[in-house]
């Protein structure tokens, strides 16, 4: 144990910085200038993404740092998908990617080339609500409605994954979606009812 926090030898310090990164090489002094100047040709600073959103093909040029969430909300104006924390800690941004529920705030839009994305806007069949959407109304499974898009997309995934077998299983597998109005019992009941209908 070192009694002096700063007492790290130069050798270990160097080795430390060289391994800070996950699986990888590392980081010198941060430069705020565009990264593209230093980048070898394989790296690009703008990425063209072709993906399908809600059944419609889109082609989008994005900066590598743009998340799927921001691309969907700010570029495509599909604002049903919400940003509650931008850290993967609340689930409000949940969408389906290739039919699996994921946090869109943790996905680079650049990595979604060729993917199929479904947001809340793509769930209903025209004017006919998806059974999960209808169940949320029937069970009063929301109050303010801000987390609801994410809850519903998560519920669709939960049912498709086969994790809606019991109320307890639903509650566990729906715990990635916070609801501060705290409609949890109604949400679990809605998912349970919708699962029965979808099967």
């Amino acid at each position: 144990m070192s009694d002096h926090p700063g007492k790290i030898s130069r050798r270990t310090f160097m080795r430390g910085t060289a391994t800070v990164a996950a699986g990888v090489a590392v980081i010198g002094a941060p430069t705020e200038a565009g990264a593209q100047d230093l980048a070898p040709s394989r790296f690009s600073s703008s990425v063209t993404v072709r993906f399908e959103i809600n059944g419609v093909d889109h082609v989008l040029d994005v900066e590598p740092r743009t998340t799927l969430l921001d691309a969907v909300r700010e570029r495509l104006q599909l604002t049903g998908t919400k940003k509650g924390c931008n850290r993967g800690e609340c689930g409000a941004c949940t969408v389906l990617m290739d039919d699996r529920r994921v946090n869109s705030c943790l996905i680079l839009a650049a990595s979604t080339d060729g993917r199929k994305i479904t947001t809340i806007e793509g769930l209903a069949d025209g004017p006919v609500l998806h059974p999960v959407q209808q169940a949320f109304i029937d069970h009063d499974a929301f109050q303010c409605g801000f987390c609801t898009s994410g809850q519903i997309m998560s519920a669709v995934g939960c049912i498709a994954e086969g994790h809606a077998g019991s109320n307890a299983e639903i509650r566990e597998w729906m715990s990635g979606n916070l609801c501060r109005c705290s409609a949890y019992p109604q949400i679990a009941a809605a998912v349970e009812a919708a699962a029965g209908e979808i099967v």
């Binding site: 144990m1 996950a22 090489a25 590392v26 931008n86 680079l108």
Partner: protein, 327 residues
């Protein structure tokens, strides 16, 4: 976040080559890297997307009775794979207790051990003394708020714990990471990948330039096993303490015990003394309790986390009970 340039690796060799570039990091599930960048923990100029690399996903049986899991396999897919669920319940349970359903659909099993500590000082967006943020800047937690911090192996320079659940189970299963780099392939025991603060408080793990975790290998089946996770809320929270136990039983007599604790140190913490003393003891006997106590002789609380020692000890006993029940 600072902008960066982006490339998709087409093979392991391609990824390893791309990762040789300065200021370059890899991304797979993305559940950590994007947050690090938002917080300001890392600011890479280049990011290599490794999710498109073939042959790094899936679970396969090995001829010796074990399994090999591709590093890019999603957490949910690992946990629910029949080979894992049936043969390694402790591992399946540990994965399913981690994060949330949607994060487990993104996060990869190879990226999972590379997540960094959850210490709020480390995760602060404001400048805060933390040796893992700025080497040599000191540790705010040792004299600050540390009720969830380490009870084993901490130093004045870092008292954080590694938060991941799956590596705790893997440690109890004596699993190994397969790591590739430009020089070749090596296997590293799971608990050896993390770096204790006594070795270097600034480090997170031993991976270096161009190192890529490509797979995880686990030995023979461990059906008599269980994972117990203690936390304030019932789900979607990091552990206060967790315990992974794998037993070989003869009736109710322990022939072999492997026990690892999570969220008590900077790496999964094997209770070696306990494991040795448990051999030949009956489940639930006073000797078994004494054996568990022996594993905590070197536990050392911080000023406000002594309760974790009690919980860890009791969780160990309870996990032994759960594992035995799985027999």
């Amino acid at each position: 976040m600072r902008n960066f340039s982006y490339a998709q690796a087409t093979s392991r060799a391609d990824a390893i080559a791309l990762l040789q570039q300065p200021e370059t990091m890899s991304i797979a599930g993305g559940t950590e890297l994007l947050n690090w960048k938002r917080i300001g923990i890392v600011e890479p100029a280049r990011v290599v997307d490794i999710t498109g690399i073939p042959d790094m996903e899936g679970v396969e049986a090995l001829p010796n009775g074990g399994v090999r899991i591709g590093a890019l396999t999603k957490l949910n897919d690992v946990a629910q794979h029949a080979l894992i669920r049936d043969a390694y319940p402790v591992f399946s349970q540990a994965i399913l207790k981690a994060a949330s359903a949607q994060i487990r659909n993104l996060a990869t099993i190879g990226g999972n051990p590379l997540q960094r500590v959850r210490c709020a000082y480390f995760r602060a967006e404001e400048p805060t003394p933390c040796n893992k943020r700025v080497a040599g800047s000191g540790c705010s937690a040792v004299a600050g708020i540390h009720d969830k911090h380490a009870i084993f192996g901490w130093t004045e320079d870092c008292v954080a714990v590694h938060p991941a659940d799956p590596p705790v189970a893997l440690a109890a299963l004596d699993a190994a990471y397969v790591i590739e780099n430009a020089k070749g392939v090596r296997r590293v025991p799971v608990q050896d990948i993390h770096v204790m603060p006594s070795e270097n408080p600034a480090w997170h793990n031993i991976l270096g330039n161009g190192d890529l975790i490509t797979a995880i290998e686990i030995g023979a089946a461990a059906t008599t096993s269980a994972y117990l996770k203690i936390r304030e809320r019932e789900s979607f929270e990091y552990a206060t303490v967790s315990a992974a136990v794998a037993l070989d039983l003869d009736g109710d007599v322990i022939r072999r015990a492997r026990i690892a604790l999570g969220s008590v140190a900077m790496r999964p913490w094997r209770l070696n003394a306990t494991e040795q003393q448990l051999v030949g003891q009956r489940i639930g006997s006073s000797e078994a309790v004494a054996a568990v106590d022996a594993g905590f002789v070197d536990a050392r609380p911080l000023s406000s986390n002594a309760y974790k020692i009690t919980i860890a000890r009791n969780a160990t006993l309870r996990a032994i009970e759960l594992a035995a029940r799985a027999a």
